[in-house]
Amino acid sequence: MAPAGQRQTGWWLLILPAFLLMTAFYVAPIAQVLAISFTEPQPGLGNYERLFTSESVQRVIGTTLRICTITTALALLLGYVLAYRIALAEARARRWWILVVLVPLWISVLVRAFAWVTLLRRQGLVNQALMESGLVAEPLQLVWNEFGIVVGMVHYMVPYAVLPMLASMREIDPRLLAAARGLGAPRQTVFARIFLPLSLPGLIAAGVLVFIFSLGFYITPAILGGGKTLMVAEWIGLQILDLIRWGLGTMMATVLVVTILATLAVFSRVVDLRRVFGSGA
């Protein structure tokens, strides 16, 4: 097998430039982040000790996990309904639905966050409508809190939830649904026993994708949280840029990266991750 082995080496050489580029501009900085988290302000595990002792660190992590969980749940719910509707639509209608889902992806995340601020603020459209209809006497606090963050993040995440779920739903043979009905199953049973289990890989994939994306969200929480509700990414920025506490910031960044890798490792055993990120479909 010597010639084959040589040919293998040849192919590997082709990706060497890309590999070096990645190492230089991606792996090396992350390694440096990891290093700083152990060396600043003094060498040791001091920064990581904060995970267990500092109430503010724990609060940031708690807030982040809570917001991400709620966001993921809502995005999955909305996304599933949308994907279901699209998967069962006729070809022409389906194209329009997909366009409607994808359009938000092409609008800057900054623009969308500010759009939500104008809609949700005290004098915003939503509060005006609620007050004029007499449902509330005082304007509601809809933005610059967790509620605002969740609204903005769910809006951003729904397309990312729809796409993997739609891909997995489109693979379900419609004859299976007809067969189930023909064998005596009412519509809700067909959904619960056939459609839902068969779309489960897509649902899990979408959940992993949305949750991981949510963990590192920066712009949307920063704008819609108004600096009052801090999530991990904004907190890291704050530590490094404003408070110049590099050790603490890089420690949290490391925790974030490890959490994401751990989530991926766990779910790679359950679903085919290459499919989640779009290859091999």
Binding site: A180, G182, L183, G184
Partner: protein, 366 residues
């Protein structure tokens, strides 16, 4: 399983999609316990009819009756019909046993009774050893049998089969045809099958309904359809046929004299068939295997001379194309075992057939 089949009737069934008429005023009756096959080329409306019976397609007009009761408006899950889909539609996330148990589970049958029925159904199709496999681990023929077991396990009023054998290779198809026929005899239920394969239709069915362009062309027992096709389409679609354009010379009580050019022909008149007047143009269907090779001095009701234009060896027989003076090219099949001649291009031969071998057919409306 009890041997109680149910009778099905279609009354003026019509389905239109916009301006396209997929099914055009089809009326049919299937007696209890019968095996009916809907046969037709693709686009003939046979699958649409099956889907109307199953309840997946709502007819534009007409009615579906089960034992005289109108079930046209009933949704598929309430009809209690077993169905084997094209491609089988087995649930990939369930084992074979779970697939077969599905119709019982949705009927909320108890666990013990369910297990018993599933085992009996898998026994019936000889798949008891495969209960815990996934459908993807089975061969095509095995999957087909799982689909059958699943469709029969809940004692359905009717079994509907949508091209059940079309995905299998030829040899397996023949094997499963036998099995399907034996199964039908064993369970004694009413089967409605859809196929475009005329051999399958002839070998499986008690009755065959031939469809073309959404219309029912002819319906009857396989032998009746094959030997007495009503129209040119039926004669051509079921097996092979020569078509002869002849003119009536002289009528008679049981037979009439015809002619094509200078060749005289004799045609038997079936009881109850019309007696056409002299001068009438008739279209005759003549099956290739009903034409015999005549030895020197041998005679037949109808005789014609010709030369072999092309021939092919088919294993069981020879297929000959024989060029004749007045009748044009005739297709003839001869049994190859004990054939009196060795076919060769250009060989002069005499052909003969009896007055009842051919049958007058109608030209199809365009």
């Amino acid at each position: 399983m009890s041997a109680a089949g149910h009778a099905l009737a279609l009354q003026g069934l019509t389905k239109r999609y916009g301006t396209f008429t997929a099914v055009d005023d089809v009326s049919l009756k299937v007696e209890s316990g019968q095996f009916l096959t809907l046969l037709g080329p693709s686009g003939s409306g046979k699958t649409t009819i099956l889907m109307c019976i199953a309840g997946f397609v709502a007819p534009t007009a007409g009615a579906v009756l089960l034992d005289g009761r109108d079930i046209t408006a009933l949704p598929p899950e309430k009809r209690d019909f077993g169905m084997v889909f094209q491609g089988y539609a087995l649930f990939p996330h369930m084992t074979v046993a779970e697939n077969v148990a599905f119709p019982l589970r949705v009927r909320r049958m108890g666990t013990a009774e369910r297990a018993e029925k599933v085992r009996a159904a898998l026994d019936l199709v000889q798949l008891d050893r495969f209960a815990e496999r996934r459908p993807s681990q089975l061969s095509g023929g095995q999957q087909q049998r799982v689909a059958l077991a699943r469709a029969l396990v809940f004692d359905p009023a009717l079994l509907l089969l949508d091209e059940p054998l079309s995905a299998l290779d030829k040899k397996l198809r023949a094997e499963l045809q036998e099995e399907l026929k034996a199964l039908h005899r064993r369970v004694g239920r009413t089967f409605v099958n859809v196929t475009h394969d005329q051999e399958e239709a002839l070998s499986l069915s008690d009755r065959v309904a031939i469809l073309n362009h959404g219309k029912l062309v002819q319906e009857g027992a396989p032998t009746a359809l094959y030997d007495r096709p009503r129209t040119r389409f039926v004669a051509d679609f079921l097996g092979k046929s020569n078509f002869l354009h002849a003119a009536v010379q002289q009528g008679g009580a049981e037979a009439m004299q015809l002619a094509i050019g200078a060749t005289p022909l004799v045609q038997r008149i079936l009881p109850g068939a019309p007696h056409p007047a002299p001068g009438t143009k008739l279209l005759l269907s003549l099956r290739p295997e009903k034409i015999a090779l005549l030895a020197d001095g041998e005679t037949a009701d109808n005789m014609v001379e010709g030369r072999i234009a092309t021939w092919s060896y088919l294993g069981a027989g020879f297929g000959l194309s024989v060029a004749t003076q007045d009748l044009g090219m005739l297709r003839v099949t001869l049994p190859s075992w004990g054939a009196p001649i060795a076919p060769a291009e250009g060989l002069a031969i005499r052909l003969g057939w009896s007055a009842s071998a051919s049958v007058p057919v109608e030209e199809d409306a365009a």
